[in-house]
Amino acid sequence: MSRDVLLFLTVFLACAVEGVEAVTIVLAAGLTRGWRSALAGVGAALVVLAAIVAALGPALTVLPIDVLRLVVGGLLLVFGLQWLRKAILRASGFKALHDEDAIFAAELAAAQAAGRDPRGIDGYGFTVSFKGVLLEGLEVAFIVVTFGSNQHNVPLAALAALAAVAAVVAAGVAVRAPLSRIPENTLKYGVGVMLTAFGTFWGVEGAGAHWPGGDTAIPILIAFTFAVSIVLVAGMRRRHSPQVAAR
């Protein structure tokens, strides 16, 4: 699998996960507080996001590539291992599965309980949408800028992110309900593996080391990380079963 295909796939999956979380929040706000306020919040968040990316994006391109790879590799490793840790805890039964239905229900209840200003834009709906899109959007922007600049292909990373967000928004508009049919836990597991593998590759190169085989180390690292996670899930499932049986 070529490096570009891996880049597209990783950015697409990571951005799809962030998109599902943002769409869940916007749907809850739109259905309970009115679409005008929710969509105004989305629009305002996108403007702020564009300003942040325009200000910080070019700054990354002037950093020496080794420094960029060391910092970005380290950050991706931290994010990747945190995602993988949660995914393994969920897959082995130690942590409840991420449930978009429950999150949607909680957001709905909170939105219905909040006071409402009948005039103009509803502040609660606007703020909830704005925060949801801005926070998840920041993660999407980080993924695009870091993956894109490290692989010298920001346009491809941006295209993957746009495709992911468009697919998730289209699904959200089509069902107008929580996107619980999207296998978010499986997606997160896969993204955790990919981020960890890419983070290891770039972090080590940024630290001055060279991988035997160059770029071919990336798919090998993905397979290695996945295999390690499978072994860990299996071991933890064995530990978890007697604990459940003893209750």
């Binding site: 840790r85 949660k86 805890l89 972090g203 080590v204 630290a207 001055g208 060279h210 690292l221 530990r239």
Partner: protein
């Protein structure tokens, strides 16, 4: 002040996450890799081992 504190908490949560051991271990691992390479020793193998060790240790701490 409370907004500044909230921003700090957001950045900490965004970058460090649930287990600070992971972030600390990665900094140490990458630092050791750079130090070994600086001394002329090939050190590409160190981080994959560190990743396995950190993940196992962090999962152990989470389920203790």
């Amino acid at each position: 002040m409370s907004r500044l504190r909230a921003l700090g908490a957001f950045i900490y949560d965004f970058v460090i996450g649930d287990d600070p051991l992971i972030a600390a271990g990665i900094v140490v691992g990458l630092g050791l890799t750079a130090a070994l390479e600086g001394a002329g020793v090939a050190a590409w193998w160190l981080m994959p081992i560190a990743v396995v060790a950190l993940l196992s240790l962090s999962l152990r701490r989470a389920t203790r």
